[in-house]
């Protein structure tokens, strides 16, 4: 059975099922991270004192990570654009870069975390660290999830380019939307945790 509007858009909405589906999912993610930001607000305003981010966390490293993630967002959208231009080789290059940059982000986070643990700075040490580890930890899980899906489209999933190029491009676009969202969350996380 062929579910309609998987590849072609429905005329009155102008959308495919997948496009609506991914935006709905992202809406739920906004509420997920929103709840954590609300928690941050409540905990911080209720705290007697609260350390400024740069006194505990490594701002240069995180700035580097911010640049890495933003760059990966560009390579992601270029990957999709390459598909639109029928340039599969360029797609592989850009998608590969996106996954690689995601990996770089994770490596940096690994160093950040292990340095903290080494100094005895754990989530249980104080609420600043608790919310820091939780927010960035959840974000990191999302990075891993996005990378996994992107790696799939680079690897086994790429077969679909030959059989159904439009559906493949749509799916890459949707994965891209998720990846951009992960970048968007970081754009807010970075100043909130590191700079304020």
């Amino acid at each position: 059975m062929d579910i309609p509007y998987t590849v072609e858009v429905r005329r009155d909405t102008g959308l495919t099922n997948g496009k609506i589906g991914i935006w709905l999912f992202l809406a739920s993610e906004v509420m997920l991270f929103g709840a954590l930001f609300a928690s941050y607000i409540l905990i911080r305003t209720g705290a007697a004192d609260w350390p400024r981010g740069d006194t505990i966390l490594n701002v240069p490293l995180a700035t580097f990570n911010t640049i890495v993630l933003i760059t990966s967002s560009v390579t992601m959208v270029m990957a999709w654009a390459s598909l639109m231009r029928n340039q599969f080789g360029k797609f592989r290059l850009y998608m590969g870069s996106t996954v690689l940059l995601g990996g770089v982000f994770l490596v940096v986070k690994y160093f950040e975390y292990s340095h903290k643990f080494h100094e005895g700075l754990l989530p249980s040490s104080n609420n600043f660290l608790a919310i820091y580890f939780t927010l960035t930890g959840l974000h990191m899980l999302h990075v891993i999830g996005g990378m996994t899906v992107n790696a799939y489209f680079l690897g086994p999933g790429a077969k679909q380019w030959k059989t159904n190029p439009t559906w493949f491009a749509n799916r890459v676009e949707h994965s891209g939307l998720f990846w951009h969202f992960v970048d968007l969350v970081w754009i807010f996380l970075f100043p909130t945790l590191y700079l304020l």
Binding site: M1, I20, G21, S28, L32, L36, S39, N127, A130
Partner: protein
Amino acid sequence: MSNSAVDAHKPHVAHEVHHEELGFLRKYVFSTDHKVIGIQYAVTGLLFLFFGFSLMMLMRWQLAYPGAALPLIGGLFGETRMPGGVMNPDFYNELGAMHGTIMVFLGVVPLAVGGFGNFVLPLQIGAQDMAFPRLNMASYQFFFLGGVIMLASFFLPGGAAQSGWTSYVPLAIINPGQTAWLVGMVFLITSSLLGAVNFITTTIQLRAKGLTFMRFPFFVWAQFVTAFLLLLAFPPLEAAAILQLMDRLAGTSFFMPAGLVVSGQIVHNAGGGNPLLWQHLFWFLAHPEVYVLILPAMGIVAEIVANNTRKPLWGYRSMVYSVVFLGFMSFIVWAHHMFMTGMGTTMAAFFQTTTMIISIPSVVILTALVLSLWGASIRLNTPMLFALAFLPMFGIGGLTGLPLAFNIADIPLHDTYYVIGHFHYVVAPGTIFALFAGVYYWYPKATGRRMNETLGKIHFLGSFICMNVVFMPMFLVGLAGVSRRLYDGGATYAFAAPVLHWNAVSSWGAWIMALFQIPFIINFFWSIKKGEKVGDNPWDATTIEWAAPSPPPHGNFAVAPEAYRGPYEYSVPGAAKDFVPQHEA
């Protein structure tokens, strides 16, 4: 039980690719067909409903006869939980927390949304299946796993959750059983989120030609709004569950204030946490959740009322605007569950106001359903009996909510049996009756056979009387000041003495109600093979699901249906029959 999955020998369907016959596992266990998944959800949900009910029946012994040994089966629960057959207070709390959790998250929502939503919605909009069939299967798997985790938690050291279905902190953090509960909740939330994405996309994109939004059956609107509630309200609870897990497992203090003393020992944590944070995040979900509990029920009742009055629903438009408005408002009333937390008068007034406003759309919907009965040719079959009973029962539930909505009136009523009476009226003789109605109504579509009417009427009458025997006294008990979640039902308090006997009345009502579920269970299974066979449209209904065969094959419709009119064209002047189906040209 249903052979609604692939039948490779059926005549060729318009856009169907030839399927090879699927094995048992792919057809009935790992199916992507919305009908199979719907039945999986429904049966699992019903089983959990009965299990959750059994937990309550156990509790009711302790409430009726505090400190007495439970005869016959008391020994089955072991010496830790029921030493000498007498319930341990911790076990009572375990039963209470799990009763609530199971009924809400494993029973009602999976049946109402996962079961009825999945089975009926694609059929009612004339679609072949959901927009994302594999995602649908995944959502059932997550629900199933969440259920397994919840059930397994009884067997963990320390037992299952025992801090209420609300898991309030800091108690929930220091009590056993909560970790499994939190992990189980994460699975259940994921299931709901995946389902919500599917429902919304399917409703918008896969509706039949000519089926505009204002021609949707009200059931579709109800499920559509419910899906938005699930999508946007559940994630904050997921976040809160993560935070509580961190507090339990990583020693963080998101919810733990400094200087906490537990059993005489000072808790050594960083402190600085806020217990109210949990309450805000929990109720941000849990308030819309109660509308998730009621909206599908209203949808089911609307379908059955229209069909069995042989009239269009009165005020369809107002019902639609109301349900949408209700969905929106449900996100900004949650702190009425927190009036007693030291909130100032300004914010209390805000939430009080939004709560009063939200009662309006509920009243509009209920009134429209009641007015639909005026001048109708009412057919009193079993689904209609349950649907009719829903109306006053939901009315009582709703009206008794009003004093709770007022900050001041809530002061003596908060956390008393009055609250228990209020919400059970809405969910038990409210939603669950609607769900029973739905089972009797759509069973013929799912199986090709009717359920037995006599057994159905016995089930109805017994349940209806018993529901009121169980829950009506609770208002009295609550008004007398007896708190909820008391292990002995208030026996230690002198002020409770005049009303204590009502506890036994409620208990007997519950146990007798259990007996009246037996005709239903027998009927459900017996009718699969022995029920009267029916055709496509045994109820002479107008909505599109009745255009498909009973049961529908994989792909549902031989030819994609088209909608030519509204959903409730009953008794149209000049028409050949007393109903004109939506899909008939």
